[in-house]
Symmetry: D4
Subunit: 253 residues, 8 copies
């Protein structure tokens, strides 16, 4: 149940347009719906203003369908992340209303309107083509959270002019998400160029001493550019969510 | 040279109130002043709107004085971070205008007015008393960047009610910086309670398997609360700087 | 051979109801039965009062069947842990009396009565749905050891109210086993809420900086809640066994 | 305020022997006393029945004195852990009632009677003489928590007969705390010998590949003896606290 | 070319029984035979008195066949280690004289007599059934090197009496190879019981904090028993080879 | 567009042999061609004088074909590295002009002449047969960059004479690339024997404590031979590229 | 009590030259003498034929003196290892009969004759001058164990001819101990040159990626020379003890 | 003995200008001078054309003086690296001819002329002022090896324009050494800008997740710029030596 709907319901109670019994019924499955293996938190939308998110990775298809169905029942939007193609096939067969984005490995259910978040777009910047699965997860999450996305792809620092060439585009955005694997140097260069919030996402792109993203992670945490913040390796979703937190704070003043 | 001063100067040139030669003279030490061992970037204030920051840790007292003097010459404010008491003593003797904050291990020179940044305070939340050096570095940096600070100290999750008790104070802030050592669980709990931006700072408090802050760092990066971002271990300065980036973005809309 | 049977046999010898030769025959395969590749320790049940446990992970199906058959021959119960479905299929075909629990990845043979252990249930608390394989291994092991189980699932700290809501249930239990992946913060919050024994089980749920459970492991070892103990990553079996050690100590006074 | 005192006070209110105003006054500093840099949780004694514990390691002497004084004011006992001799000297000068135990690096204030916890002693078992600082921290904490201590020292597995020789002493205890550095093998051997709860404490004793206790930590976590639980490296305090949790659970039934 | 054959040849030259030209011809492929992708070192048998060993792991079946054929041509024995069943199938089809030992993952060609090495057997001691692949690789290598093997299997320290029961068998051996995964504590206990050389082999048996054998490796390196030496994780071959070095030194006096 | 072609074009403009419009047309896709998911940098050939290189590892076959086609369109040569056989099959079907080198896992398109780089060959030295995939990637890259290759294979230090035997061959080369897994000791021995540039490539050959190449990497970084430089694990391509940088510097004087 | 003395005593009992009571008195402090903080194992000399060894590192001077005095009382020899100069000063003042070897950081008490162990010397080979503290600890331990020592110092592989030059000396020894820091390559080269037992000791010499001896440790564990065994970082004592185990086995046949 | 002197001597023998006896005398201390604790390799200058280098770090002042004196005796130049001020004081008092460079922590003895190496300077590029100790060690080593040095200091990527501003200076050099701590991103940006050899030196500048230089090391090894090679953390000496190897190769053609 999202905040706007809740407020509307309570105002109806206040004005007498809706009986207390009726309101109680509408609120009856608050605060949580317990599925035995999962407790669906309908309050979260209220507390954080976002659709329910299901981390698909370590769940069975049946569990994902169970949780998504429970959420869908209340009219909220759903985003399932880290859903591999095989599992997605099973899940979408059970819930045909879900739409699967293969490159991003996310499935979405969009049944409620998504309020626009922020006045300027969020930049999603990548070092190379291999970062696409992470950047698309990030972009699709941003879209579901209401943010506009400006893609600035394949501008790794080994060819610094590709990045400098796109600087104006960066300056027109509200938050910049920098996605890079290998040594992750792009975060430092971007962090030094712009004055707005920079969220760095290390990716597991690379081999050997990249140690599955560790090199990029350490590099971004120790960036010589001040005030760059970091999320987990390959966590495009988390970076999008962090950007939405910032946009909400900005909207609130 | 800060942006306002630069704009004023250029407008004077435009209006003819100032000759080109005179303006060129004023701009003559742009873009950098090269001290041999350091290149002071007077442009950074222009690009990012902040005072010059000197990482005191691996520099000699003489180098710190050299750089700080060069910056001070142009009228900017200065913040020297990670300055241990012994080195601080030497540096402050050479530059008596500097003020040393022992708990925070920073020295500051405040000669220009600091414009207020943001309409609501930034929360600095700590898990325990041992996190004070990091939280005070953070708070003092925020002050130098123009942000108001709301301290919420010693509310670690082993006594969860201490935190819940302060929830309203948290809700009234713009950005929340969570500082915790050991397992760093406070970031997850706070991240689940509030909807605004949360910046987590792992600290090196703890021993054994805390591995000098590694446990808290990994814990914060893998937080089950969505959209929590992380900075380097003990990096109170970086968290403050990241908060300022967010406040500037909010101010810009 | 379990302690009760051994005592009975020795009392028969003492009373003359059984000849020494006959008793010696009954005891002849003590202390161990050597299968060449494995030494089945019939004394362990005597020493620790538990069924024989076979770690299925690095053994071939034939080895598992060989050991289980030897144990079954003496009338004891058997628990095979970490048995993947393919191997389980092979093992159960050879020993149809075994029952396979797929989610828990354990197979059990229950031919002797299981004495009730403890007067209050053991709580099995999980942070999320993805922790189910570990929590079910734990719960099934507790059942085989004679303990009653209270499941408190999907109460991760990102929605702290789900946990606070279940506090009374926790207070009614004897031992609390907390199972969580990612940052494992649940152990600290639970450890601060209750006064009884808390055994934390880090799980390999998560990705990137979770490093296959390392983040949760370090987080639980450095918990800010005092007196939380930890077992190996994903070791639901071990936590159940540790709980049984505690219940036995309590029974003994 | 300990539970017994609280109950007495509330019964006085119930019986009319004490006025509500008077009781409220007595309870007025609940739930916490905020010292600015620390929030003293007088409720914890209520929730967990233990004296206030102050981790001395990363606090200044002044902070320790401040917190200990606040606790002492309410009549509770105090235990300051990880207090090095130099800091202890300063702290004890300010609070002469504190008693410093150098080998254990703890200071204690014992002003309230300590109720006896458990009917049988807790065994504190060490592999070698070098583990003494950890084992004495553990033993002194047990004493402050009301448990009797049975010391079984220097019985490392390189001379297995020293341990077997002490087996009867082990069997007479309620909980066994095994403290060992280097490879920490003692935990596995003890875990296989006894049926009661075993809490393993890895120590930082050793050099090279001991990696400051990491070898012992990993060894204890992967012990081939089932149901051994582990606390942080050198955490004698935590092991004692965990033992007290077990004894309380046993007392409660 | 093994040392005995070389000596015979040179003695024939000395006595005139063989012409220099003829001897030169026989020695013509010394020191190495270069296959392009591999340099077969016929001198190694001379220098170290052992058959040619081929590490099968990262080589293609064709490369293994190429090298083995070249060695076989000179009449030496061959041992191919770390040969998985699929590759073994291919290799043995091409060289039917090879015999594959599946549990040990080695293939052997035995065409020259193997001189007996040492007067007493080498003990191969394992902690559990899961260590069999490593112990059989070790035993088969010992056999090819001429040593007699005494298997002492499944005597892990969680049931210390299984080991003490076999002590006399251990005392009758020349070198003791201890093979254990998980925490590897068996090496310390054995090292304390016997006075002869102890070679410890950590195995990758275990999960979670066993970190693929790292826990056992560190545990064995930091053993509290003096003078235990260690080889690489799962390196049954290396332990056997080290034992042979010791037996040769003993034979030489 | 390679430097020679660019210079020729500009000279034609200077001499009037080519109109400015025509030249502009030829240069029109400078500086980059943006494919959406990738920005092909036609300037790189200009800046570094090399063919376009595509890291095949984390890209889809379709992306590789897309980028390779764009590059091929301008007449440059192409090298796709880390291309596994399955993906190679797909890519080569779409671009039949590509030639796949299976052992080296690279595909090459050679449509422009490759200018000879350096007067003496580059040595590619390996410790063992298992290093072949890396050494062939290196050799093929060198060929595409114009360098002559001298292969010195299977000369690991366990048989030091195999290496000493090839010393003259090493002395006749310009740059020596040493490729070794396991402990990587070959780099130190070669570094001590020769006076020219030595580039060490650790490989992931080995098991257990080799930790996927970490042992060799650390060994090469801490070589006791002075001035040995190192590239990433298994990075045969990078070593070849580094050698080419050296040869170009030598050519320039 | 060493084996010879024990045998003599028992033979006197057998022959009637000594009364049972008298022998019992002489044996009365068997098996251990318990000092409270340490259990001195007089049986160890019997079981392993060596003097008592005290690891000085984590013990106080008082504890060392206490244990050494207890050992000395029975006439055995004593070796205190890892004794820094300051502590050595204190210990030797209390026990003037101890002799301190500063470079080796060991103190020895030699009051019983040391039987000669082995017919050929043990080689102690080092890579560089910086390895001296470890090699001297090793050599002094060997001397106390009865072995003759052949020092082959500063023959690191960066100058391979220094080692080849000493090959004959190596061939005349029984066991070769190779001590090296940095990348530890010397162990592989020596292991390939000789056929006898090779014990490798990684040292903490080096910086950066040497990671306090980790690089050498991993390098030696993954040596391409077969059958090289390894002890802990800087463990010169352990290598000597392992050599003595080998010499004893050789003596026994 | 450097190559020129050796050649001169041999030519004198050839021409009869010098007797064989006399030459033999001059060569008598070849190949090494054995000091007991160190073997001074007079051949190294011959093989690699460089002065003798002494790693001062783990040697005593007396050992350094001993080795340096032996080298000085033959007329060669000497460079002692990693010499802290206290030890330098002692060493220089014993050898007043040595000159100590405090920032670089090296001492040099320059008694033979240093032949110029290379026609263009070597660039030494640093990210920040804190990298000075490493960059000066590098620069001083280059000077002793005969190379001219171009310092490009404090051009870290957080202010990318400081680097771009110096691009022409970089293009005029033969080899570029990039020295950076924290995330080490400078190596990638420089590697993408220039076509010559780039040697990256990670430094231990930074804190927390910089892990004493590990972040920079991994970042440089996984650089997205092709062909960047890396030396050990803080190894300014090694980078200089590697540059000299390149310059020598260029000189030779």
């Amino acid at each position: 149940m999202d905040p706007a709907k809740l407020r509307e319901l309570l105002e109806q109670v206040q004005s007498g347009a809706r009986s207390v019994d009726d309101a109680a019924l509408a609120l009856k499955d608050l605060p949580f719906a317990d599925l035995g293996y999962a407790v669906v938190d309908h309050h979260r939308a209220l507390r954080q203003g976002v659709p329910e998110v299901i981390l698909g990775q370590s769940k069975t298809a049946a569990q994902i369908v169970g949780i998504a169905t429970e959420v869908a029942r209340t009219g909220q939007n759903v985003l399932v992340s880290r859903l591999d193609p095989a599992k997605a096939h099973e899940v979408c067969r059970a819930m045909p209303a879900l739409r699967y984005h293969e490159m991003a490995r996310v499935a979405t259910l969009e049944q409620a309107p998504i309020p626009r978040l922020g006045t300027r777009p969020v930049a999603v910047v990548t070092a190379g083509t291999s970062d696409l699965p992470v950047s698309e997860e990030c972009a699709e999450t941003l879209r579901m959270l209401g943010a506009e996305v400006e893609r600035v792809y394949d501008v790794g620092v080994a060819g610094i002019h590709r990045l400098l060439h796109r600087r104006q585009a960066l300056d027109a955005t509200s938050v910049i998400i920098v996605i890079a694997g290998m040594e992750g140097a792009l975060a430092s260069v971007v962090g030094g160029l712009v004055e707005g919030p920079v969220i760095a996402v290390p990716t597991s792109v690379g081999y050997g001493a990249a140690f599955e993203g560790l090199a990029a992670l350490l590099g971004m945490l120790t960036s010589c550019a001040s005030g760059v913040t970091v999320v987990n390796i390959d966590n495009g979703f988390g970076a999008a969510f962090a950007a939405a937190r910032i946009l909400r704070a900005g909207a609130r003043g």
